[in-house]
């Protein structure tokens, strides 16, 4: 997982609430065998509408998604996070995220930033007024900046540390190699093995 310290990019204002994971990535994409290639499935149904914000050429290359409240509800599919990342998003800003989606994001290095709705409104206005507007998400300082706009956000120390260091759960657990090996040494010999030596 890549370390996340600070990120600056143009934004997509998604003025919708309760965006569930079925809308983020529809179920028929789940037969795929890769973690990539989901970008075309992202918001697939909505993208059929030429007016949908993602279809606006001025939003091309944007990397920050500014969404309405309750983003990522519904099924636990991790494919929703992969689709956002595959498309190019590095951070999602919303006033409220579904728990499982947030957990999955953290596992994949997609930063989810919780800001008060008033701040989300301010960002929407700024990036709608000028699509070239850039938003900076600064994890070191734990704040979001956009022109003269500046708003602090919270993220627990453990999660922040893992993102800053680019540590996925696996790298972290691998640091406990000694503990794992010690546990293994004490496992009873009657426990089954799938391979016969």
């Amino acid at each position: 997982m890549e370390a996340f310290t600070t990120h600056t990019g143009r934004a997509v204002p998604l003025r919708r609430s309760n965006v569930d994971t079925d809308q983020i990535i529809p179920a028929h994409w789940l037969k795929k065998v890769t973690r990539d290639g989901f970008e075309d499935g992202l918001f697939e149904a909505w993208r059929r509408d030429p007016e949908f914000v993602l279809n606006d050429p001025r939003r091309e290359g944007a990397t920050v998604l500014v969404a309405g409240p309750d983003f990522g509800t519904g099924s636990s599919r991790e494919h929703a996070v992969w689709a956002l990342q595959n498309y190019g998003f590095a951070a999602v800003i919303s006033s409220r995220f579904a728990d499982i989606f947030r957990g999955n994001s953290l596992k994949n290095g997609l930063l989810t930033v919780v800001l008060p709705q008033a701040a989300v409104d301010a960002l929407w206005q700024a990036v709608e007024a000028d699509p070239a507007t850039e938003i900076t998400v600064d994890l070191v300082a734990r704040e979001v900046r956009c022109g003269s706009f500046r708003e602090a956000f919270e993220l627990d120390d453990n999660a922040r540390w893992r993102l800053l260091e680019g540590l996925d759960d696996i790298s972290l657990t691998l640091r406990q190699e000694d503990d794992i090996a010690a546990y293994e040494a004490g496992r009873p010999s009657f426990k089954p093995r799938t391979l016969t030596a």
């Binding site: 890769t34 657990t173 794992i180 009657f190 089954p192 093995r193 799938t194």
Partner: protein, 476 residues
């Protein structure tokens, strides 16, 4: 204070415990199938990691596999790719795989127990929610997501926040003709599809102790349908006897040591559960679902409920939507619901006892005109055993189709699907909209009810057949 069974198994697997962090748990057995593993193996490749314990890992093909013409190439290219990917991944990483055509192939939750790999006091995970099945042995078994599959492959551990504990105590004995499936459907109807959220459920009491291992698996399998992370049953002599002689069960002095440990896996008398539910087994009867979630069920003798009878507005709304989707009207007797298809199989009811039970009902009878009955053994071993006992002949003589092992119509990821508007009586575990095929309508039932339903063409129990048979001259 004493500990519950679930807490004992948990405590025995803590690799590392630190303030402000989730416990790091060791995983004894990791089961894989083709749908949820490809991205996990990819992650390993990308980071140059290996599978830490190939000797605690096993894979089988089940969700996408066809149940006909298994010697021919798989027609659906997407399904074929998922299977080929699993084969390549297992070969590359040294994981034992039972592919289509192998004698040990089958639904992942049927394969683990029949090999003797699922044992009391283990932690068992799989990228599949019905991993709860393995809890029947007194194992702590739960489904995980794809990142967690990768985590277990790489480290054989998982960071986990603790569960809460719930006891479901089933007092008394199940009446004749009432099965484990009826019991678990009744339990889910009672506690609701979200009632188990955040809990590990321990099933206990006289009725549970009397159940066979296979019946216990049926119970634990559907724990997830009550929203629970896992279901467990304390191991006892029934468990030990089931394991004896299986490929991977301990033998000799190893067995003695194992059994000594397994006997400690009981909830202490002074342990306290976070929540308790008591069910009186003697009041139960054959149970079927009428709606689109597994909690929407009723005794077969009842009628389709009136949505207006629900006080809770969201339940009322759910019932209205369900009746609409299912094409049913309030007050319609459940026994009068006619079906097009009967499916016997899945990790809930695709084991040998289930096939024997269904065969016993259908023996000497015939599947009703216009009804299609599919019998899909949960694994190749189950299939071979059934053939050895002549059960396949019983089914085919009655007009049923005898198929190859796999998940099949449980979720219709292979060609076995309901057509839009078609109605099934199914021994599987989920009656969600479209689960068995787009627009398909599913009634969850026991194997006995499935077989009786196939004979009459509408939802029925074996007891209903006895009266019909008696009323008809022999030979008609």
């Amino acid at each position: 204070m004493g500990r519950t069974l679930a807490e004992k198994v948990w405590d025995d697997h803590v690799v590392r415990r630190a303030e402000g962090e989730p416990d790091l748990l060791y995983i004894d057995l990791h089961l894989l199938h083709e749908v949820t593993s490809p991205q996990a193996f990819d992650g390993l490749r990308k980071n140059g990691r290996t599978v830490r314990r190939t000797d605690l890992t096993i894979a089988t093909e089940d969700h996408n596999t066809p149940t006909l013409d298994i010697d021919k190439p798989i027609a659906d290219p997407v399904s074929r790719t998922q299977l080929e990917t699993l084969r390549r991944n297992c070969a590359d990483f040294g994981v034992r795989l039972h592919p289509l055509g192998d004698d040990e192939q089958g639904v992942v939750h049927v394969v683990g127990p029949q090999l003797g790999l699922t044992q009391p006091g283990m932690t068992v995970v799989c990228g599949d929610s019905h991993t709860s099945t393995h809890g029947a042995f007194g194992a702590l078994a739960f489904g995980i997501g794809t990142s967690q599959v990768e985590h277990v492959l790489a480290t054989q551990t998982l960071p986990m926040a603790p569960f809460r504990t719930m006891a479901v105590t089933v007092t008394g004995e199940l009446p004749d003709g009432v099965t484990a499936k009826d019991l678990i459907l009744a339990i889910i109807a009672r506690i609701g599809t979200g009632g188990g959220q955040g809990y590990v459920i321990e099933y206990r009491g006289e009725a549970i102790e009397k159940l066979s291992m296979e019946a216990r698996m049926t119970i634990c399998n559907m724990s997830i349908e009550a929203g629970a992370r896992a279901g467990m049953i304390a191991p006892d002599e029934t468990t030990f006897a089931y394991l004896d002689g299986r490929d991977h069960a301990p033998q000799g002095t190893e067995r003695e040591a194992a059994v000594e440990y397994w006997r400690t896996l009981r909830t202490d008398d002074d342990a306290v559960f976070d929540h308790e539910v008591v069910i009186d087994a003697t009041e139960l009867a054959p149970f079927v679902t009428w709606g689109t979630n597994p909690g929407q069920g009723a005794p077969l003798s009842a009628s389709v409920p009136d949505p207006g009878s629900y006080e809770d507005p969201s339940e009322r709304y759910a019932a209205e939507k369900a009746l609409e989707y299912m094409g049913l009207t309030a007050g319609q007797p459940l026994r009068e619901i006619a079906v097009d298809t009967v499916f016997v199989g899945s990790c809930t009811n695709g084991r040998i006892e289930d096939l024997r039970a269904a065969a016993a009902v259908i023996q000497g009878r015939t599947v009703a005109d216009g009804v299609r009955m599919l019998v899909v053994p949960g694994s190749v071993r189950v299939s071979l055993q059934a053939v050895a006992e002549g059960l396949d002949k019983v089914f085919t003589a009655a007009g049923a189709e005898w198929r190859h092992a796999g998940c099949s119509m449980c979720l219709g990821m292979n060609p076995d699907q309901l057509a839009p508007g078609e109605r099934s009586a199914s021994t599987s575990n989920r009656n969600f909209e479209g689960r068995q095929g787009k627009g398909g309508r599913t009634h969850l039932v026991s194997p006995q009810v499935a077989a009786a339903t196939a004979v009459t063409g509408h939802l029925a129990s074996p007891a209903d057949l006895a009266t019909t048979d008696a009323a008809q001259p022999v030979g008609v």
